[in-house]
């Protein structure tokens, strides 16, 4: 009884023999510790703080991107303790005399002796007069104060950033729309939080590390995150249209929009001087980037916008700036030469966009200033211009309606034909599909085509002033599909990746005949949102919509837990001063971060390359005009490059990775080659013409692709010096960044969970479930696939042979007959093999092999002596039982079991499919095998397979077969593949780090509580993660101690953690101050 009470006191969940019913057990110690609201996670890892605020947010394009508008009511409550000094005493006197209810006032005064006074109405004058240096006034928030701004869910570090306060009337927190992206905020009622750091140290650190201007880029992949959105894109798109012209008055007015009329603007020469002076919208953007001559910003970049028309034929030249749609954006020395600006140039998620280039070449301040100007210009311009959407924007014309009808009719006919073929049984199946699957795939293809086609017609026919069209073209909102759904045709509704399922017997809804496969019966919506949906169409549409909602709800929970686990596993990894990545206890995880020690946040090139050489070369050529300087010959160029590359800072010892050197060199070699080619082209023609033109020709060649010594030098030096600046700083909490970079995209993954791996009918899991599988290090994954290369990959027949060896073959498949032979003396089974068929499919099976495989099947319990080989294709099997009464039944059961005996192939393999890859250039096809199932070792050992090029997507199997390094590679590749197939780019360094963490113990550790436990983490950290009580109990039993060096432990103890700025400690002289005795003196001594 007592024991029960004690046990319940400690843990109220312990099972008690129910001798008596306790009304409701009190929460035990364990209950108070564990869980999200428990002591560990609720109070120790996350603490409640003062000096915070929260309210609804709204946009204000007139604010700078670094600012946040704070309502006066909020500023009256939030205070900052400012020390009185010579410089601020007058201001603080005023604050104190205003009291606590008038802005700008003060809430409290603290004196050096520790006492404090509140400036109440009656004493505030007196207190203000008595203010002296060294006192601390808790004054109200004022303009320019540093505050932290945050929106949940805080998925990455840009979810909490440091802004400057602007105290303003009204009741919402306001900020520039450009900063919506990092917070993932919109203004449909979102609320955000505000924190006010209370010391100068905290402020400094906040503004330097968390400031908006220092976090324009995401460390996920180095793309810019703070960039123009929505209306800003729309108005920029409209302003830079080729046929927008402004006269002097309106051009000047717009110039003053962007600088508030408070700054100098150099008016450019008008583009058209006669018959009337006219400026173009593009010139306005040149002014925006570089308002006057003292702004030393020379941006050079090229971007291909969405509406850029590429050259159709291969080998044909790109139209570039001559693109008829004006889709090629070309900035040269801060002058917009061509292109209508859209999302690719101004929006987030492009490394070659205007703001990215400004940020990289002219630092954050230039980019921020440009964004401020653009926000002001756009908001004011679009306010005057007007931009709205109405019913006439989605009304289809008669032509459009006819075309739509025609397309749908044609598509329906195609479907009917397929259905008819299917019903007659004449539908030719596609590789790896049965007839029903082929039909489904065919119909889905046709129906998707209908939507695409109507969409295309729609986009072509709309007037350019159509608002949805403008929005989709510039990338501010909506896609062509959205438009065509509104105007033309909503299209096929899918549930779970296929057409609407049969909720009733053999039909989706009772409105249709049974077994109907027509488009309308399986969820094709032929109407548009404008024309209105029929009842059944509406129902199908809700089915699709519901799936989306459910998926989002499930996904948030899933990815949230995944992020938490990743964070717990990676939180303490940081870069040390020897360039290694170590965890809190100093254990090395990587010897050099990402193999090159680069900071992912500052990678400029595609797929994680440090620099974009093409752009830098363009910039070098644009910023250093040739003037009268001599150009270099190709030989001189390569000579100079060679000598520069031999210098100290291009060696591995000088901190330059081999990969970078190679890519740099290959770029320069490529350039020298093209220069030589141009020269030769001119020279070859020159031979035909008169020699006297050679000087002219030489000059032209140089103008086309020449480079001056100055340009080359500038280019080489910028590349190299910038490369060295991109080294990651020691102390960076790269683990936490990596965890966020992998966790955050999970929330954005669409519900596309399956994908065809090269061949239709072969699905592989993707999306959040797949990421989870990889990270957990699951033993069984849902779709294991081995990609096997063939030794001879150009022949279908050899591929088929190899497939035959891998795919399992049953006895039933190769036997002509299995007969029960009963004679008076003997009862036996006779198996006759179908030798003809075996030869046809080129399997080497004969009776002896069958005998072996039967013996090796343990279920049958047959031994050597029970099987007799009669000839090549015939076997006789006797019953192992000698009991005469049982023999009959035994033989019958054997007869049933024998066809399932696997005579050839790998048991763990489900099936194998030949994948054909056609090379269009050489018109040859390559074959490889996709093997569904496990058994990598066996597949690699199969004759005809090139084991060196064979991989699996099963991490643990790769580990068992090929070892830990292969497993690491496999983790990286699989995460990368999954992320890429969802259109998400993540720097490979993050995945490397994760893979290294999962494998650095020599075993594949999943990011689960079991895996994390094995990573040598502290008890407090494990207790704060999962299974709180178990860890605490075992730690106390074993007498473990904790060195408090990890992140979680330090947070729990409330001390700075040894990461980032907390990495270094200040050494102090250790002469102890005289000891003070706080106790009162003893009465009796």
């Amino acid at each position: 009884m007592l024991q029960v009470e004690v046990a319940q006191y400690i843990n109220s969940d312990v099972r008690v023999q129910s001798l008596m019913q306790v009304a409701k057990p009190l929460a035990g110690f364990v209950q108070r510790l564990k869980g999200k609201q428990g002591r560990f996670r609720g109070n120790l890892s996350g603490k409640r703080v003062e000096y915070t605020g929260r309210t609804v947010i709204s946009p204000d394009p007139n604010l700078k991107i670094t600012e946040v508008a704070i309502p006066i009511q909020m500023a009256l409550v939030l205070t900052y303790p400012e020390r009185v000094s010579h410089h601020n005493i007058e201001k603080l006197r005023q604050c104190v005399s205003n009291g606590r209810n008038k802005y700008p006032g003060a809430g409290k005064i603290t004196y050096s002796d520790g006492s404090s006074r509140v400036p109440f109405h009656n004493v505030r004058r007196k207190l203000a007069d008595a203010l002296k240096y060294g006192d601390i006034v808790h004054r109200h928030l004022e303009d320019g104060d540093i505050v932290l701004f945050n929106r949940q869910p805080s998925l990455h570090r840009m979810s909490i950033m440091c802004h400057r306060a602007r105290v303003m009337p009204w009741r919402t927190l306001r900020f520039n729309e450009s900063v919506c992206n990092p917070y993932n905020a919109d203004f449909d009622g979102d609320e955000m939080n505000l924190h006010v750091p209370q010391t100068e140290e905290a402020r400094t650190e906040a503004v330097l590390l968390m400031g908006v201007q220092n976090n324009l880029c995401t460390p996920k992949n180095g793309e810019i995150l703070v960039a123009s959105t929505q209306d800003f894109l729309t108005s920029s798109f409209l302003i830079t249209r080729k046929d927008t012209f402004y006269d002097r008055a309106s051009f000047s007015l717009m110039c003053s929009y962007m600088v508030d009329g408070m700054d100098f603007v150099d008016l450019p020469t008008p583009a058209i001087l006669k018959p009337i002076e006219l400026w173009t919208g593009k010139q306005l953007f040149s002014v925006l980037v570089r308002p006057h001559a003292n702004v030393r910003v020379y941006v050079s970049l090229t971007v291909k916008e969405k509406n850029y028309i590429k050259s159709k034929e291969e080998g044909e030249r790109e139209p570039e700036a001559m693109c008829p749609n004006d889709g090629f954006v070309y900035f040269r020395n801060s002058e917009l030469l061509s292109g209508q600006l859209g999302k690719a140039t101004l929006g987030n998620g492009n490394k070659d966009g205007l703001f990215s280039v400004l940020l990289r070449d002219y630092k954050a301040h230039a980019a921020a200033a440009c964004m401020n100007r653009l926000a002001k210009l756009s908001a004011r311009w679009i306010g005057n211009h007007g931009f709205s959407i109405g019913i006439d924007d989605v009304q289809p014309s008669k032509y459009l309606n006819d075309r739509r009808q025609e397309t749908i009719f044609k598509g329906y006919q195609g479907c009917d034909k397929k259905i008819q073929l299917y019903n007659e049984g004449n539908l030719p199946p596609e590789t790896g599909c049965d007839a029903a699957q082929t039909l489904e795939a065919g119909i889905t293809r046709i129906l998707n085509n209908i939507r695409d086609e109507t969409g295309k017609v729609c986009m072509k026919e709309l007037h350019w002033r159509n608002s949805p069209l403008i929005m989709s073209q510039c990338g501010s909102k909506g896609s062509p599909i959205n438009i065509s759904q509104m105007i033309a045709c909503v299209g096929q509704q899918s549930v779970g990746g296929r057409r609407a399922p049969n909720g009733f017997i053999d039909r989706s809804l009772p409105h249709f005949p049974r077994k109907a496969k027509t488009p309308a019966a399986k969820g094709f919506v032929a109407n548009s949102f404008y024309s209105g949906l029929t009842a059944t169409e509406f129902f199908f549409h809700t089915m699709g919509g519901r799936e989306g909602l459910v998926d989002t709800a499930v996904k948030t929970a899933d990815t949230g837990y995944m992020s938490r686990r990743l964070m717990k596993a990676l939180e303490d990894l940081s870069i040390h001063y020897d360039n290694t990545v170590r965890n809190a206890s100093g254990c090395v995880v990587q010897f050099r971060y990402g193999d090159d020690g680069m900071d992912p946040a500052s990678m400029e090139g595609k797929s994680g390359a440090p620099l974009n050489f093409d752009r830098l070369f363009l910039k070098a050529k644009a910023t250093c005009p040739a003037g009268g300087n001599e150009y270099l010959s190709p030989f001189e160029v390569s000579e100079r490059v060679e000598s520069r590359l031999l210098e100290d800072d291009m060696t591995p010892e000088g901190g330059c990775s081999v990969a970078f050197k190679n890519s740099f060199k290959s770029f320069l070699d490529e350039y020298v080659k093209s220069l030589t080619k141009t020269r030769e082209a001119f020279e070859s023609v020159e031979n035909l013409a008169a020699k006297e033109n050679s000087a002219i020709r030489e000059k032209i060649v140089k103008n086309i692709s020449g480079v001056t010594p100055k340009q080359l030098e500038v280019f080489l030096n910028t590349c190299i010096s910038r490369y060295h600046l991109k080294q990651i700083e020691a102390g960076t909490a790269i683990g936490a960044i990596g965890a966020q970079s992998i966790g955050e995209p999970g929330t954005q993954m669409t519900l596309k969970t399956f994908h065809f791996a090269g061949v239709a009918s072969m699905n592989i899991t993707l999306g959040v479930p797949r990421i989870k599988e990889i990270i957990n290090g699951n033993k069984n994954i849902s779709t294991p696939i081995i990609t096997a290369a063939l030794k001879h990959d150009n022949n279908v027949n050899t591929a088929r042979m190899v497939r035959g060896r891998i795919e399992k073959t049953n006895l039933g498949q190769v036997a002509k007959s299995i007969k029960l032979v009963m004679t008076s003396r003997l009862a036996s089974l006779v198996v006759t093999l179908d030798m003809e068929r075996i030869r046809d499919v080129q399997l080497c099976i004969d009776a002896n092999i069958v005998k072996e495989s039967i013996i090796q099947t343990p279920k049958l319990k047959l031994k050597q002596e029970h099987i007799k080989v009669l000839d090549v294709g015939k076997l006789e099997i006797l019953s192992p039982d000698t009991d005469r009464s049982k023999i009959h039944f035994q033989l019958h059961s054997l007869k049933n079991l024998l066809p399932t005996v696997i005579v050839k192939g790998i048991k763990t393999v489900e099936r194998a499919i030949i994948k054909k890859e056609e090379n269009k250039k050489t018109k040859t096809s390559k074959y490889s095998l996709l093997v569904e199932g496990t058994g990598l070792k066996e597949v690699m050992g199969t004759e005809g397979i090139d084991g060196r090029k064979t991989t699996s997507n099963h991490v643990l199997e790769v580990h068992q077969t090929l070892g830990i390094e292969a497993a690491r590679k496999c983790i990286i590749e699989e995460i990368k593949y999954t992320m890429e197939s969802h259109g998400m780019s993540i720097d490979i360094r993050h995945m490397m780090l994760l893979a290294d963490l999962m494998t650095f113990r020599g075993d594949v550790l999943g990011i689960t509580r079991f895996g994390i436990q094995k990573m040598g983490k502290s008890i407090l950290m494990l207790a704060s993660f999962e299974k709180t009580s178990d860890h605490l109990f075992s730690a106390s039993v074993n007498g473990r101690d904790d060195r408090i060096e990890g992140v979680t432990e330090c947070i729990i103890m409330g001390i700075p953690m040894p990461i980032g700025t907390g990495m270094l400690k200040v050494k102090q002289r250790d002469t102890l101050p005289s000891k003070l005795d706080y106790r009162p003196n003893a009465i009796l001594s």
Binding site: K242, I272, P324
Partner: protein, 165 residues
């Protein structure tokens, strides 16, 4: 071949004595509009014209603000490119002689090799392309290298047009 080299601004059908003396004209010739909006009409106020010059056989694509200066197919016009509008020793400006003037920047010179044998010659023909942007209105001038000697990257150019009746 030698006759065509002398093209830049020396003996052209400009009888005016000012124009004869003009050394700063980088290029001038009479063009005939061959096509209008070759890729379809995309903009309301701006038309892309394709024209070919009569003397030098240069090919030109040019965006013109046809809202204020209409140009139609088969029209002939005189086009000149110059770095400056001022004339030697005089208050008069080059602008007075022309109806439509644009100002822009030369940003790209490139070459194209074609295996063309139209003028009887054999072997590949090399042509130089000059790209100028007049505040976003593009010009592409393509032709024999000998006519393009005066052009340089980053040059600021005036484009002057006068219609010939």
């Amino acid at each position: 071949m030698a006759a065509r080299v002398a093209c830049p601004g020396v003996h052209l059908p400009l009888t005016n004595k000012f124009l004869v003396r003009m050394a700063e004209l980088l290029f001038d010739d009479i063009f005939r509009v061959e096509r209008v909006n070759p890729d379809g009409k995309k903009f309301d106020k701006v038309t892309r014209i394709e024209a070919r010059s009569e003397k030098c056989g240069m090919f030109m694509q040019l965006d013109v603000n046809t809202d204020i200066y209409p140009i139609v197919k088969d029209e002939r016009f005189l086009m000149a490119l110059s770095t400056s509008l001022s004339l030697e020793g005089g208050q008069q400006s080059l602008a007075d002689k022309f109806e439509y003037i644009m100002h822009g920047k030369l940003y790209k010179i490139s070459d194209e090799t074609r295996a063309k044998t139209s003028d009887g010659g054999s072997g590949p023909v090399i042509e130089v392309e000059i790209y100028v942007s007049f505040g976003g209105l593009q010009m592409m001038l393509k032709g024999d290298p000998s006519h393009c000697a005066g052009f340089e990257l980053e040059q600021r150019l005036f484009l002057l047009i006068r219609k010939l009746t």
